[in-house]
């Protein structure tokens, strides 16, 4: 077959609201091709219009948005003017689509089997026995261990990674020629992410299926895509072969994107060896079990036998997948979660033995930066009050001095004058800077940062990380940096602890661990982290 499989020309998407004409369109003048069997990625941050581009192809734009111009041709056949009936015959059969949120991408009220069979029944009208056979085979190919039981089960019985694989199975069953994947792995943890992506690429290659990947993750693009289209605020700024675009970006925005990939710090500051400010010995933490009808549930151990130290002024990372216990450990270090066993010692004093005054002082000395910028600020409280919260309990600080310190803290994070604003008036990156200001205003000696940049766009991520490093250098606080992203660890941490299933499996100086990982889990994590590969590509 000659000619491109998918050909999009001058695609334009607008909001349908009456005042839409005054505002810039969601997507303007996008043109690209996908050849049969090719892997093309559309990359951009939030607001870039990339999801709208994907949805337009099958006419699945959400209410309030419409296609205002352009053509979309599949194997030479124009899709834009098709009737609903004709469009439906294209959907699923010729073009399949995989979505982002595994938790809501499958109907919770129907069994897996019914949902898998739907498309087949509709498009191919096969008898039930044959449908079941194909479903079982497909489930095996996506590495579901017990396909028979899976068919009779409901979606809520499976984890996120498994649901994405089931989605893949569902889509590939119909043998489409093009697979559109809209952020298919964003909601999964690093290892599952890799599994699903590898599976997708392998199955697509086996069946000659072209893939159009929509993502914000440059790492995935670098690893899998042959060609890439870069979108900024609805406009195509650059496109071409991946190696070319990422290795030698022509457009300033692409360059910013590539630069924001975390990379190994060039010179790690030499920390003078000092007494550790935080010492964790054989810590174990339990989650209360689910209470049954008449008895308390058995507690579940989420952290066991963890030893950890953080020296004064050091940045130590704790890295692991979700469920590894890293977040719980971070909370326990601050005394927010009780220990089932072991000790946490801060500045020579054991947490469990502190009296009220010492505990209050500890609160001022140890602070926390939260992960979710949209949930960590009280929407009804002004920024000034939020930032100064910890200072209210310091007897040595008068109200006037508190105001001055808040002003200073906001200036430090480049948000001078924002005292009277409310959170909803600010962007995600700005709110995260407020969270950082809140943590440093009391001049703590230890800051626990719980995934502080995970919820941010890539370019904003770099900004906030850089800010954090600058403040750390300026104020010299020790930092326990919790994250799932190894790329970030490489950039910012002096030492790293790798956690899996509640235990520390490896630890050491960052460069040493990254260059020569000992534990299998660390090796798997390193191999699965896409951003490191991208950084390698772009440095070339």
């Amino acid at each position: 077959m000659t000619g491109p499989l998918l050909s999009v020309r001058n695609l334009r998407v607008e909001a349908t609201a009456p005042d839409a004409a005054d505002r810039p369109p969601l997507l303007a003048d996008l043109s690209f091709d996908v050849a049969p069997g090719e892997f093309v990625a559309i990359v951009g941050e939030s607001g870039s219009g990339k999801t709208m581009a994907a949805r337009s192809i099958l006419g699945l734009l959400p209410p309030g948005v419409r296609r205002a111009g352009g053509t979309i041709a599949l194997e030479g056949r124009e899709l834009t003017g098709l009737s609903q009936r004709d469009l439906r015959s294209v959907r699923g059969r010729h073009v399949g689509m995989v979505f982002q949120e595994p938790m809501v991408s499958l109907n919770p009220a129907l069994t897996i089997g019914k949902q898998l069979a739907e498309g087949l029944k509709l498009h191919e009208g096969l008898p039930d026995g044959e449908i079941r056979r194909r479903c079982l085979e497909m489930l095996r190919r996506v590495q579901i261990t017990d396909p028979g039981r899976c068919l009779a089960a409901y979606p809520h019985e499976f984890s996120g990674g498994m649901r994405q694989r089931i989605m893949l199975a569902s889509v590939l069953l119909l043998k489409p020629k093009l697979l559109i994947a809209d952020e298919p792995t964003t909601a999964l943890d690093t290892l599952s992410q890799r599994e699903v992506m590898e599976l997708m690429v392998e199955l697509a290659a086996q069946n000659g299926v072209a893939i159009l990947l929509i993502t914000h993750d440059l790492g995935l693009v670098a690893r899998y895509a042959q060609r890439v289209v870069v979108l900024e605020k609805g406009v195509e700024v650059e496109s071409g072969a991946t190696r070319q675009v990422l290795g030698a970006p022509a457009h300033p925005y692409t360059r910013r994107l590539v630069d924001s990939l975390p990379r190994r710090a060039e010179n790690r500051p030499q920390r003078p060896s000092a007494a550790p400010i935080l010492e964790v010995r054989q810590a174990a933490i339990d989650y209360p079990g689910k209470p049954g009808l008449f008895r308390r549930g058995a507690p579940k151990r989420v952290v066991s036998g963890v030893d950890l130290t953080v020296g004064a002024g050091e940045i130590v990372a704790v890295v692991g997948a979700s469920g590894s216990g890293k977040t719980t450990l971070g909370r326990a270090v601050l005394g927010l979660k009780p220990l089932a066993a072991g000790t946490v010692t801060f500045d020579g004093m054991e947490l469990a033995r502190m009296d009220k005054t010492q505990a209050r002082a500890f609160r001022r000395q140890a602070q926390l930066v939260f992960q979710d910028p949209f949930s960590s600020l009280d929407p009804r409280v002004r920024i000034g009050e939020t930032v100064g919260a910890a200072l209210r309990h310091d007897p040595a600080v008068s109200p006037r001095e508190r105001r001055e310190r808040v002003r200073q803290a906001l200036e430090d994070v480049s948000l001078g004058g924002f005292e009277d604003r409310l959170p909803h008036q600010m962007s995600g990156g700005q709110r995260q800077r407020v969270a950082i200001a809140r943590a440093v205003v009391s001049r703590p000696r230890l800051v626990v940062a719980d995934e502080p940049v995970s919820a941010l766009d890539m370019t904003i991520q770099l900004q906030v990380l850089t800010l954090f490093q600058r403040l750390q250098a300026q104020y010299g606080f020790a930092c326990l940096f919790i994250t799932h992203d190894l790329g970030v660890v490489e950039q910012i941490a002096d030492r790293v602890y790798v956690m899996s299933a509640g235990a520390v499996v490896e630890e050491g100086a960052t460069d040493a661990v990254f260059d020569d990982p000992r534990h299998a889990y660390t090796r798997a994590l390193l191999a699965a982290t896409p951003s490191r590969m991208a950084a390698a590509v772009s440095v070339a």
């Binding site: 601050l334 209050r360 602070q367 939260f370 960590s376 009280d378 919260a389 909803h424």
Partner: protein, 271 residues
Amino acid sequence: MRRRLKPNALVGAVLVGLLLVVVLVGFAWTPYDPIAIDLDHPLAAPSAAHWFGADEFGRDVLSRAMLGARISGAIAAGVVAAAVSLGLVLGLVAGFVGGWLDRLMMIVNDTVLAFPGILLALALMAVLGPSYGSLILALGVAYLPSIIRVVRASVLSIREREFVEASRVAGDGDLYTMLRHVLPNALPPVVVLATSLFGWAILSESALSFLGVGVPPPAPTWGNMLSSARPYMERASWLSIAPGLCIALTLLGVNLLGDALRDWLDPRDDA
């Protein structure tokens, strides 16, 4: 923050505004004395002299309806004030403190909820005897469990938000966190519920008065006006229409305003 003034909100505001005006005007003046009997003109049809007509005792229906607005409105306001304030406190405690106290409160709550509202109010009225106070108490008790449920659910979801934990990290005590952070964020659904509650209270009071166990005569309330209109349905059908229309319009206004309030409060809450 964009305010979207849908036409519904406007209609609702107009209707409720009208009710307020009628109530306020009624304090100072009504076309006739609501309880003055005029046996010369019983069951007069609506005319220029009596806009809504007159009842079997010659009393002007419009004036009685205006007084009824005041009475029903006062009772409903009393019910809302009592139920919401008590419900806020109890719901906050149940949601925030949790543990066995919460479980105990929920069992009691479910018990009260097991009785259909009207029946519970009826039974309480039987025990307490007819009076304005007992009416407010009876209706308040009937609606209290729903408010506690809503407040508690709201508190439970707010408790999971990170800024509550941040307050703890900053060193704030539980009481401060509850009052400064949880309460203000728990209010919006309660405000919406309060407007619905006002409507239900008016409806319930009318129903109880209609059944003869609500506001005692000769005080007119829309409910008992409808009840006394029943024997005269054929001869003077307007007596059955006017009071019911008042209830319906008031409810419509309150519901529309409540909807508009909910729409307005909603988008502001999330990012």
